[in-house]
Assembly symmetry: C2
Homo-oligomer: 188 residues x 2
């Protein structure tokens, strides 16, 4: 099918494994597109899919003491899920689109069943989780720096973020007030 071959190309690109292995997940993978502002995964609900971004941007946030706290942003080729929904539990985070975004949508249970009996996919799953853990360790280190250092580190490692994410969301991600971020930026 026309559509299958397009998905296949993307999946080959994302996972970097042989076509035979890709065929094993084609049956429960599809393209999906949503609009800026749409909520993909909602805090407190189960969600039996995970995604990869083909084109677009999303943010993930949770609520704490009345405030929205951004936990991460994701762009092209990144995986989208929350640890909890991936484990079949209710989500602790909301994922919302920052731009019109095109995804590959994959059924979590079927993917996990495949990984349960297939080493190639089991390794890929480990690798995905590991890379998330490395991201989290880095994020923790951020918080032992001053707010100026946090901001500078962010724009150094992900300069595109300034073009694609509002300063309000960035300040929340960095754990500082909007006003403070604004002052840091005007000093530089």
């Amino acid at each position: 099918m026309m559509n299958d071959s397009a998905i296949k190309t993307h999946l080959l690109d994302l996972f970097n494994i042989d076509t035979y292995a890709i065929d094993q997940i084609l049956g429960f993978s599809e393209f999906k597109e949503y609009k800026k502002g749409d909520v993909l995964i909602e805090e407190g609900k189960r969600h039996p899919y995970f995604y990869f971004i083909i084109k677009g941007a999303v943010k993930s946030y949770y609520h704490f003491e009345g405030k929205e706290i951004c936990s991460w942003f994701a762009f092209e080729n990144e995986m989208i899920a929350t640890i909890k929904t991936f484990a079949g539990e209710t989500s602790n985070e909301t994922i919302e689109l920052l731009e019109n975004t095109k995804f590959i949508k994959i059924q979590t249970e079927k993917f996990k069943k495949l990984a349960d009996k297939n080493l190639t996919w089991s390794h890929i799953m480990s690798a995905l989780i590991s890379s998330h853990a490395i991201f989290l360790e880095d994020r923790i280190k951020l918080h032992f720096m001053s707010s100026k250092e946090r901001y500078n580190k962010l724009i150094l490692s992900e300069p595109q973020i300034l073009q694609r994410v509002s300063l309000t969301d960035i300040s929340s991600f960095l754990g500082m007030s909007r006003e403070n971020l604004s002052r840091i930026r005007s000093e530089n």
Copy 2:
């Protein structure tokens, strides 16, 4: 062997799988004991083993702007490794013993080779990494709270920590000065 059967008992306990699977890692697992203050894994060095604590306590820390920053503590039944050494790279953290500690020591490469060709172990590896990721997410949330809240959350979730870890290390783990921690404790 006497010793093998003792290790086996511990491993069965830790992993909760059948004896046949445990036999597969016995050949590269051994008991090991070190003294309080000893350094198990050193920042900047490779280390081809990982561990489980049978009895004792350790801390992990790294250096940032001249200061030691504690990233975690571990006690009985917990796994000890750094993400980097587990991946075969040089460590970004130092692991030091807080008490005389008895471990099970496992060869990382042999374990990973086993997980590469064996689904049971591949799943265990994923589960270990996932639970670390969940710990990290929780740790990140800590830093969006005030120092008083961070301290209260810690003693609520891990009350034993106060008995087994110095306040200096706890303050570093919580990302605040010793003096500030001391004042928070006297207010309570």
